[in-house]
């Protein structure tokens, strides 16, 4: 799962799966046409940027601690971007 990471933070495989599911649910992250498992990293990075912009976080396109923490907050299931 090619989630661009902030160097300083250790994320487990489970964390990355959670992050990927979050972006799929709320930012319309779609499987890359190149194949089910292979998602081009820049697709995920662009979705991370969309989410970070929506919540007023620093827009890095990388999964950092602040972004991951926000993903864990209880929320509404409706996407944050028009679908």
């Amino acid at each position: 799962i090619p989630v661009p990471l902030e160097d300083s933070h250790e994320f487990t495989e489970k964390d990355l799966q959670f992050a990927e599911r979050y972006l799929r649910n709320h930012y319309d992250l779609r499987p890359n046409p190149a194949g089910i498992m292979r998602k081009s990293a820049n697709t995920v990075a662009s979705k991370l940027r969309e989410m970070q912009a929506f919540f007023g976080l620093e827009v890095t396109g990388k999964l950092d601690e602040e972004t991951y923490e926000l993903m864990q907050k209880p929320r509404c299931g409706v996407p944050d971007v028009g679908e």
Binding site: G56, P74, R75, C76, G77, V78, P79, G82, E83
Partner: protein, 365 residues
């Protein structure tokens, strides 16, 4: 605030909802109350009306479910996703689903059902998530305390862009429509406010504004009832008085004056008086006239007492305007009485009607 693609909204203002099932975390009555209160958040600031039905298909079908619950948008167990709702439209459109793996409450424990429902119903009406962290439509759950929920301004602006502006368009149509069907339009309360502008609830006319601006009472004065019976301005006290039923509010700009609302009999009206139809202050005499049914009273603002010898019959003093008044305002020594589709321009000086106009000529229709 944000809208769904194509700015989806309901094309009608009377909507129905049905509660399909209940959570075991709360008593049924508590769930009913939470949903009813959540709908009121939106009906208070729009012309929308919500009616509960207990069978058949409602516009907004409400249900509790867990994990995959039939719409291919599965919930995820405790916390995480709390609920979701669909934008306006047929079938699933407008429906709201709540994750029953959550602990629902009517206070700060677990997740407050009223708050989450008010958010979800915002989606059911056409609002998407807002980026404003203080908005109800912000995607992340925040408990905002138990007392007196007031819809944040971001949400008010969003929902009114969907459902009040729509009414504004209707207003323009009313004008054009009126030009063909004169009886279509009447005014039941008006007041001279802020000297140069006249406020007709819900239109606001200002000399510098070409268009009549459609405004909801609630967006100026959230504590006021949705609809009022009469209003007038006392320029000496620089206050606006609004009447609904047996109550009167004094307003100083956007603020309600302390100790108000009061009862109208405290102004000297008989206790059995149920409402006031219209009110107007006449600067030159310092008196305020109150119209109810076929009678009127005169109130001395300086002495703050009802004048002796009243009530009198409207027909006796203002012959020709009919036996009741919907609304009235004063301008440049003339009283403008609204009675159904007609407006009577009455000269205070010569004590007679000098012109009969169509009611919405005030909007230059």
């Amino acid at each position: 605030y944000n809208f769904f693609p194509r700015k989806l909204k309901w094309s009608k203002t009377n909507l129905t909802y049905r509660i399909m099932n209940y959570t075991s975390d709360l008593r049924r009555a508590e769930v009913d109350r939470a949903f009813k209160k959540a709908f009121k958040v939106w009906s208070d600031v729009t012309p929308l009306n919500f009616t509960r039905i207990r069978s058949g298909i409602a516009d907004i079908m409400i249900s509790f479910g867990t994990k995959e619950h039939g719409d291919f948008y599965p919930f995820d167990g405790p916390s995480g996703l709390l609920a979701h709702a669909f934008p306006p439209g047929p079938d699933y459109g407008g429906d709201a689903h709540f994750d029953d793996d959550e602990a629902w409450s009517d206070d700060s424990r677990g997740y407050n059902l009223f708050l989450v429902a008010a958010h979800e119903f915002g989606h059911s009406l056409g609002l998407e998530h807002s980026r404003d962290p203080g908005a109800l439509m912000f995607p992340i759950y925040t408990y905002t305390g138990k007392t007196g929920f007031v819809l944040p301004d971001d949400d008010v602006q969003g929902i009114q862009e969907l459902y009040v502006k729509m009414l504004q368009l209707k207003t323009e149509r009313v004008c054009t429509h009126f030009s063909f069907h004169r009886s279509f339009f009447n005014v039941d309360k008006s007041a001279n406010i802020y000297l140069n502008e006249i406020v007709l609830f819900f239109w606001r006319l200002h000399p510098q504004m070409v268009e009549a601006e459609l405004v909801l009472l609630k967006s100026f004065w959230p504590e006021l009832p949705n609809k009022i019976d009469a209003a007038y301005e006392n320029p000496i006290k620089d206050l606006v008085f609004m009447f609904k039923g047996k109550k009167v509010w004094a307003l100083n700009g956007y603020d309600i004056v302390e100790d108000f609302p009061k009862k109208i009999y405290e102004m000297g009206f008989p206790k059995e008086m149920k409402r006031i139809d219209a009110a107007v202050h006449i600067k030159d005499t310092g008196k305020t006239l109150f119209f109810t049914g076929n009678k009127y009273w005169s109130y001395d603002e300086e002495a703050e007492v009802m004048e002796a010898g009243y009530p009198r019959l409207i027909e006796e003093e203002f012959a020709g305007i009919g036996d009741h008044v919907d609304a009235v305002y004063e301008r440049n020594g003339y009283l403008y009485f609204f009675n159904g589709p007609l407006q009577f321009e009455y000269s205070i000086w010569s004590k007679r009607i000098v012109r009969v106009l169509h009611t919405n000529s005030i909007f230059w229709c």
